[in-house]
């Protein structure tokens, strides 16, 4: 009983009141502990992590890179590929999934082919797409597109299919036309699944783009079409710079985190009705 009173009386940090909110502090602690363990493991030559350069050394390699144009150009290249592949997947995947959900005929015609192609890993497409597409750039973007496309379509289809049938019945009874039902029931009803599908799809595009850049060699640097963070890592490996490999890896982690965060924010913005309670 007294414990309850005590905990109720203790002022709790209120979210949104201070810049260092509770969960931000926790996140900082979590990252700090991780870095300290890594540093110790590396310095003490612990098994497995003994050969990984410690974070302080990685930092020393990273700092000069922050002013290096080539490093930022890798960021730019990978981000651009992710973004164009992802946007293409959204632009094609959402209407495709919606068409599959709303038209029996379209579904029956496209679904078998879709289901046969879906298990083929995007990376298995790299050699073929290098042959099919005129430029290296297009083939990498195409593989990135595939990574997000299947996930988005499956989510849109599942989302549209799981809309409560009573919503359609209610709308029909109240005199809705098919177009009205599509616009005011199917579209908003599928939106939460579109958000989930794109968040997952975005994660996959980062995985895919980096691997595609490695395999394809990132294209030719000279023509200004190559590079990318995947190529940056591969190049560091070939050049024997372990520190730079780690820099590349962390860069991708940070890039992936920010794109997911951006999508989450956008997702909340377009589905205000889920934000409630």
């Amino acid at each position: 009983m007294s414990a309850v009173v005590a905990s109720a009386a203790r002022p709790r940090p209120r979210p949104g009141k201070s810049i260092f909110r509770h969960h931000v502090v926790r996140a900082v602690i979590s990252i700090a502990v991780f870095l300290v363990l890594w540093e110790l493991g590396s310095r003490l030559k612990a098994p497995w992590v003994g050969d990984v350069p410690p974070p302080t050394v990685v930092m020393n390699t990273w700092l000069p890179l922050l002013t290096d144009q080539g490093y930022w150009y890798s960021w730019y290249q990978s981000s651009r590929r992710v973004l164009s592949g992802f946007l293409a997947a959204m632009l094609i995947g959402i209407p495709f999934g919606l068409a599959m959900a709303t038209s029996r005929f379209f579904h029956d015609v496209t679904f078998p082919v879709f289901e046969i192609l879906r298990p083929v890993p995007p990376l298995a497409w790299v050699p073929a797409s290098i042959i099919f597409w005129p430029t290296q750039e297009l083939s990498i973007t195409f593989v990135t597109f595939l990574g997000a496309f299947y996930t988005i379509v499956i989510n849109v289809l599942g989302g549209a299919r799981s809309i409560d049938v009573r919503y359609f019945q209610a709308a029909q009874s109240m005199g809705s036309s098919s177009w009205d039902i599509f616009r005011r029931i199917i579209l908003p009803g599928t939106l939460p699944s579109i958000v989930v599908g794109s968040a997952v799809g975005m994660g996959i595009t980062w995985e895919v783009v980096v691997a595609a850049e490695m395999i394809s060699g990132g294209g030719s640097q000279a023509a200004g079409t190559g590079g990318g963070l995947g190529f940056f890592i591969w190049n560091s490996y070939v050049g024997g710079s372990y520190e730079q490999i780690v820099v590349g890896m962390i860069s991708i982690g940070v890039a992936g985190y920010f794109s997911s965060e951006l999508l989450r924010w956008l997702g909340k913005y377009v589905t205000p009705w889920l934000r409630v309670r």
Partner: protein, 291 residues
């Protein structure tokens, strides 16, 4: 706004539904299963007809037939003499639990029908305000359904149906899932709404207290295949108060009568498919008849 709320009136045009010899079966030919068989009844003009029956007895199927979401295998459903061929605003269904569109605010939900038909006029806008006040949700007009309590959701749904001025309002266990207190408040609220409007209402439930309190006419249904087992006129004067109904001898008499019919039906439903249970029920019914 207050002024328009006072001057706005619901011009109600109550309809009458006649169900004649309706059967509905599902499944392939030869292996099909009758859910409704040769069912006939009338939903009388301007009255509140309550249909009560054991759960799983095919009431929801009947509602889909009345609403026009499905067609009967045999027989006809007519509204004021016109055969029902599909869903229409003249027969609106208020669904079990809630079927408010979660992505629309209370106001947008209520305005759905008029907007869908392109009837956004001064008159419907006034009507929306009138109904928002009537169901007590003026302050919650910009809230999403998930932000409303269970009782508010049901009231919003009633308003969403009423703005379309249906000739018959069909309610499929609308208060299911509400807690006991809210449910009783909704009974009184809903029956006042009905008494004011004089609209034809068809209310489906499994709750005998709800049925007796609300009904002008009580249709007691049999098990699958569904038929009307008995029709009871609930001749208890309106307006009704819950406290009065609990003490009313007539209401209790009707309740006992309905319960005894329902009990036999429920026992049959319970026993379906089990030889031992069927024997038990037969023995029980014989003893009951002798007594």
């Amino acid at each position: 706004m207050n002024q328009s709320a006072q001057t706005t009136r619901l011009a109600v045009d109550p309809g009458e539904i006649v169900v004649t010899g309706v059967s509905k079966s599902y499944g392939a030919v030869g292996r099909h299963k009758d859910v409704v068989r040769d069912c006939s009844f009338t939903i009388e003009r301007g009255k509140l007809t309550v249909m009560i029956g054991p759960s799983g007895c095919g009431k929801s199927t009947l509602i889909r037939l009345l609403a026009g979401f499905e067609r009967p295998t045999e027989g006809t459903v007519r509204l004021d003499g016109q055969p029902v061929t599909g869903p229409d605003r003249d027969r609106l269904v208020v669904f079990q639990e809630t079927a408010l569109f979660p992505w629309m605010t209370t106001y947008d939900n209520i305005m759905y029908g008029p907007r869908a038909r392109g009837e956004v006029t001064r008159e419907t806008l006034d009507l929306a305000e009138f109904l928002l006040n009537k169901v007590g949700l003026q302050e919650f007009r910009n809230k999403y359904p998930l932000q409303l309590s269970g009782g508010m959701q049901r009231r919003a749904e009633l308003a969403r149906a009423m703005i379309n001025n249906p000739r018959v309002m069909v309610l499929d266990e609308p208060f299911r899932g509400l807690d006991a207190m809210t449910k009783e408040l909704m009974w009184e609220y809903y029956s006042r709404l009905f008494e004011e409007s004089g609209r034809t209402n068809f209310f489906v439930t499994t709750d005998i207290d709800e049925a007796v309190f609300l009904a002008d006419r009580l249709l007691i249904m049999s098990n699958i295949p569904t038929q009307v087992r008995a029709v009871v006129e609930v001749d208890v004067p309106r307006p009704r108060r819950l406290t009065e109904i609990i003490e009313s001898d007539r209401a209790n008499e009707i309740k006992r009568e309905a319960l005894s019919i329902l009990h036999a039906e429920a026992m049959r439903s319970f026993a379906r498919g089990s030889k031992a249970a069927t024997d038990f029920v037969e023995a029980y019914l014989k003893r009951a008849n002798r007594a």
